[in-house]
């Protein structure tokens, strides 16, 4: 992650927690309150985000991986983050748009730019896809506005303003967003489904082979005994005297009795193997590809955007807060129920 964002977060944390600080030569000196002194086990925090300064002056390097920074972060990742916000317009938005037009590769085709106020809502979900071989966890930030859904990575870099209104119909918006998630994640889900099926097939094959080898072993022991019986029966036929015939007959009977016992014992073992197999099968059956989403943040959002309409009818939205063009699927219109 970039140091600038980490630094911004760090300073916001200090402000939000009313911790006074000074910065000189990239070194932060933070005066801690009673709680923070106890939590971090220090009277004053002296740190820097600059690796060289940290090394040269032997000062704590702040950033991901540092316990203090990570505990600051984890403090802001619990609970639902709900708000009603707006993003202000900036003069340079239009200039930036013009600078980025090349990204659309339209050459000299003529176009028309129009500023619009976007209304909608923002959601950030944590999505966990659990399959037989692995679990993937990622965050999905989405912006629902203008009857369209925009991938909203980077929105956190903007400075929000409060809208002095309560929130309504949060549940309806979330329902809509959850319905949209599988569409948004289709490519990833297809890939994960393939991986999961492959891993499951592998597991089932290993299990089948294991069971089959156990069955084969049992069958082999019975076959060995049967072979001995057949051999003894041949000896009966080949025997040159009555007493020898009688001896081999008795041997056959004894072996047949043993075989019966062995088959009974083996059948019991087969039953146990089957029970175990069924139990493992049930466990395997429970291992289906599962997708869990957790709402992390939601906000109704009012934000500036531009429509960029080309002569050749390829139309785009430009969202300054995301610094990105999006193909326009629907014409902008006034929001409903906001």
């Amino acid at each position: 992650m970039d140091s600038e964002l980490a630094q911004r977060f760090f300073e916001s944390y200090l402000d939000d927690n009313k911790l006074k600080y000074k910065v000189k030569d990239s070194i932060y000196v933070v005066k801690l309150d009673r709680d923070h002194k106890r939590w971090w086990d220090m009277a004053e925090l002296k740190c820097t985000f600059d690796q060289r300064t940290a090394k040269e002056k032997n000062i704590q390097l702040m950033g991901v991986g540092s316990f203090i920074f990570d505990s600051m972060v984890s403090k802001y990742t619990s609970g639902l983050n709900l708000s009603n916000l707006s993003l202000p317009e900036h003069k340079q938005d239009l200039i930036e748009l013009n600078d980025r037009l090349d990204e659309l590769s339209k050459g000299s085709t003529s176009y028309m730019i129009e500023p619009v106020i976007g209304f909608g809502f923002y959601t950030m979900f944590e999505v966990v896809i659990s399959g037989a071989s692995q679990t993937d966890r990622f965050n999905v930030p989405l912006l629902f506005a203008q009857d369209q859904v925009f991938s909203a990575f980077g929105l956190e870099r903007n400075k929000f303003e409060a809208v002095d209104m309560p929130l309504k119909d949060i549940d309806k918006d979330i329902e809509k967003a959850v319905e949209h998630l599988p569409i948004h994640l289709k490519a990833q889900l297809d890939e994960k489904e393939k991986e999961h099926d492959k891993a499951m097939n592998g597991l089932i094959r290993i299990q089948d082979e294991h069971v089959q080898s156990q069955y084969d072993e049992l069958k082999q022991s019975e076959d060995n005994l049967q072979f001995k019986i057949d051999d003894a029966k041949n000896q009966v036929l080949d025997a040159s005297s009555f007493s020898l015939k009688d001896k081999w007959n008795r041997k056959v009977k004894e072996l047949e009795r043993k075989l019966k016992l062995l088959v009974d014992k083996n059948n019991e073992k087969r039953r146990k193997i089957k029970d175990e197999f069924d139990a493992q099968q049930t466990t395997l059956d429970r291992r289906e590809l599962s997708i869990d989403a957790k709402l992390l943040a939601y906000a109704k959002l009012e934000f500036p955007l531009f429509t960029v309409k080309y002569e050749d009818s390829d139309n785009y939205y430009y969202i300054p807060a995301l610094r990105k063009f999006f193909p326009m699927i629907a014409e902008p219109k006034a929001p409903k129920n906001l």
Binding site: S12, S74, N81, D136, A162, P166, A279, A297
Partner: protein, 590 residues
């Protein structure tokens, strides 16, 4: 198309007033924080290949490990119910940190009784060679170290433990750290650690403030100050009622994982308990009664002397150094003598032959000629008693048994006596006890896994050994501490046990064992309670001192106080169990 489940659907309100909305700054910080935590996401276990062939990794264990590895605070409390494999989860996590080069120096702090179990499990299952710390230099010299927390906190060890920078610290049985004034707490607080895992099966033992204290030690500030925590989440002064449950669960879910047996789908086999109350012969009973009468008299005498000497010197402020020293020695002597008398009682009850051997050793320590003569006569009488009721019954039991059997006894003397008798009767046996070195123990287990039918085990030897390939357990004698019973059963009644566990208890009528079985264990339904509940019950006891002392005192003085205490503790543990469901169970509870 696969369906997506919204996990926190119930926590999402339909509407929210202005006053409860996040400020723009706080919203923005939340988004940045989530973006930061989404980096370096661990989706698979790189160390898996090294242990997958040796152990069956269960789904909840993988999930737990990934949850911890993705936990941004690098601190986690693994609080699975007993029997779900917390040590395995910890092993997966340690291995993963090492494979990913996120940890090199790892310290595991455990109760003394579990240090070798940890060492063995980490070695055999994860190919991790931990050194059990004997000397303070071990903390510097070895990267992977296991230490008993009681050793680590000593003046000899603590400075070195705290001077080393540990990449990962693991603390087993972490619920014992709930009190911030203890040496254990101070030791852990003072250890320089990057990552920390705490393990406990009982995160709630008395009230939720203890959980706050534990988590505040694990991750200072994560739950805010105690006052903040109380204001937001606690609805009473005792810490037994909560509010904002969803938010609390969400917050706790960031730092602790509590898998419940019912949610894992793992089927635990039943326990079938058979208790056989045998009769002593008249000769045996007379010997036993006389021996107990002697022990009782000695116990009374010592306590009488002690209380008289205390009466004479009520005000210790008036005592000089010599008097104080004398008093301390008297206390020490009383403690030692009580311990000796308890051991004598237990040995006589285990087997008369073991009791006789113990009486002879005890006699050697006596100076008073009258006392010496009394003990000598008693021992001599014991020597002429032939046969052993428990042994006879044991042989009868084993003759019907074809499966593998584990026989537990507390004493090595009894163990050897059982071995001799069984070998004379043609049984194939193998011994396992605390006097054996790790190689000998390993060999014994291998033999038992192989062609030996019977493992004769002492409690000290069996600790930490998983013997779930056997399912029949015989308690030749009964440990007085219920935790010991739990530990014996725990050797076989655990994940991987495919059959119902059969427990045979052997006891003699009108002895201390019968008293324990009928008057004490009965009150807590000891042999049938689910795994792990025992620790919870014992933590609720008001009786001071060891369980053994309490039982001895109750038996000798024929008082009901301990039995009542045990009953009350069982009830309180039941209440805490319900509270635990309210706090942690996301599906049920409120």
């Amino acid at each position: 198309m696969v369906k997506i489940r919204l996990k926190n659907k119930d926590s999402i309100p339909a509407s929210l007033p202005k006053t409860e909305l996040a400020s723009p700054e706080s919203f923005s910080m939340g988004l940045i924080a989530h973006s930061i935590t989404a980096l370096d996401n661990v989706g698979e276990l790189l160390g898996r290949n090294s242990y997958a062939g040796k152990i069956e990794i269960l789904e909840h264990q993988t999930r737990t490990a990934l949850h911890v590895l993705n936990n941004f605070s690098h601190r986690a409390l693994l609080a699975d119910e007993v029997g779900l494999g917390k040590t395995i989860e910890a092993g997966i996590i340690i291995k993963e940190y090492i494979v990913r080069k996120l940890a090199k120096k790892v310290l595991v702090l455990t109760p003394a009784t579990l240090k070798y179990q940890w060492q063995e499990e980490m070695r055999s299952k994860f190919e991790l060679d931990f050194k059990v710390a004997d000397d303070p230099s071990d903390y510097d010299d070895f990267d992977l170290v296991i230490a008993s927390i009681d050793t680590a906190k000593t003046k000899r060890h603590a400075p070195t433990v705290q001077s080393v920078k540990w990449d990962l610290l693991i603390i087993d049985e972490a619920h014992k750290l709930k009190n911030s004034s203890t040496q254990n707490y101070k030791l852990v607080k003072g250890i320089d650690k990057d990552r920390c895992l705490m393990l406990t099966a009982t995160p709630l033992q008395n009230n939720i403030f203890e959980l706050w204290a534990l988590l505040d030690l694990l991750h200072p500030g994560f739950l805010g100050s105690k006052t903040h925590f109380q204001e937001h989440f606690i609805a009473d002064d005792q810490g037994l009622k909560i509010r904002n449950r969803d938010l609390l669960q969400d917050k706790l879910g960031k730092i602790m994982i509590r898998n419940l047996r019912k949610d894992t789908g793992i089927k635990f086999p039943d326990r079938k308990v058979h208790t056989k109350m045998l009769d002593y012969s008249q000769e045996e009973m007379e010997f036993y009664r006389d021996a107990i009468a002697y022990i009782k008299n000695r116990y009374m005498e010592v306590h009488q002397q002690q209380s008289e000497s205390q009466d004479d010197t009520k005000d210790t402020e008036d005592m000089d150094q010599a008097d104080l020293k004398k008093m301390a020695e008297q206390y020490k002597e009383k403690g030692l003598l009580t311990f000796a008398l308890i051991m004598l009682t237990r040995q006589i009850t285990s087997s008369i032959k073991t009791g006789v051997a113990a009486l002879e050793r005890y006699k050697e320590a006596i100076d008073d000629p009258t006392q010496k003569k009394l003990v000598e006569d008693l021992a001599n009488r014991g020597k002429f008693i032939s046969g052993d009721r428990k042994l006879d019954y044991l042989l009868k039991l084993l003759k019907k048994e074809k499966d593998k059997v584990i026989i537990f006894t507390t004493f090595v003397h009894t163990q050897k006596m059982i071995e001799l008798e069984l070998q004379l009767n043609g049984f194939s046996t193998v011994l396992f006890n605390g006097k054996m070195n790790p190689e000998e123990k390993e060999a014994a287990i291998e033999q038992f896994k192989g062609d030996k039918q019977i493992l004769i085990c002492t409690d000290a030897g069996s600790e930490g050994r998983n013997l779930q390939f056997a399912h029949i357990l015989i308690n030749f004698d009964l440990p007085w501490n219920p935790m010991r019973i739990e530990q014996r059963i725990g050797r076989v009644h655990r994940i991987g046990q495919k059959k119902d566990v059969v427990i045979h208890n052997l006891a003699i009528k009108d002895t201390v064992e019968a008293y324990i079985l009928n008057r004490l264990y009965e009150k807590i339904n000891l042999f049938r309670i689910s795994i792990g509940e025992m620790d919870m019950i014992l933590s609720q006891l008001k009786t001071k001192g060891t369980t053994e002392n309490a039982i001895f005192d109750a038996y000798i003085n024929d008082n009901e106080e301990f039995a009542k205490d045990l009953e009350t503790a069982a009830k309180k543990a039941e209440d805490i169990k319900e509270f635990d469901t309210i706090v942690f169970d996301k599906k049920n509870g409120q």
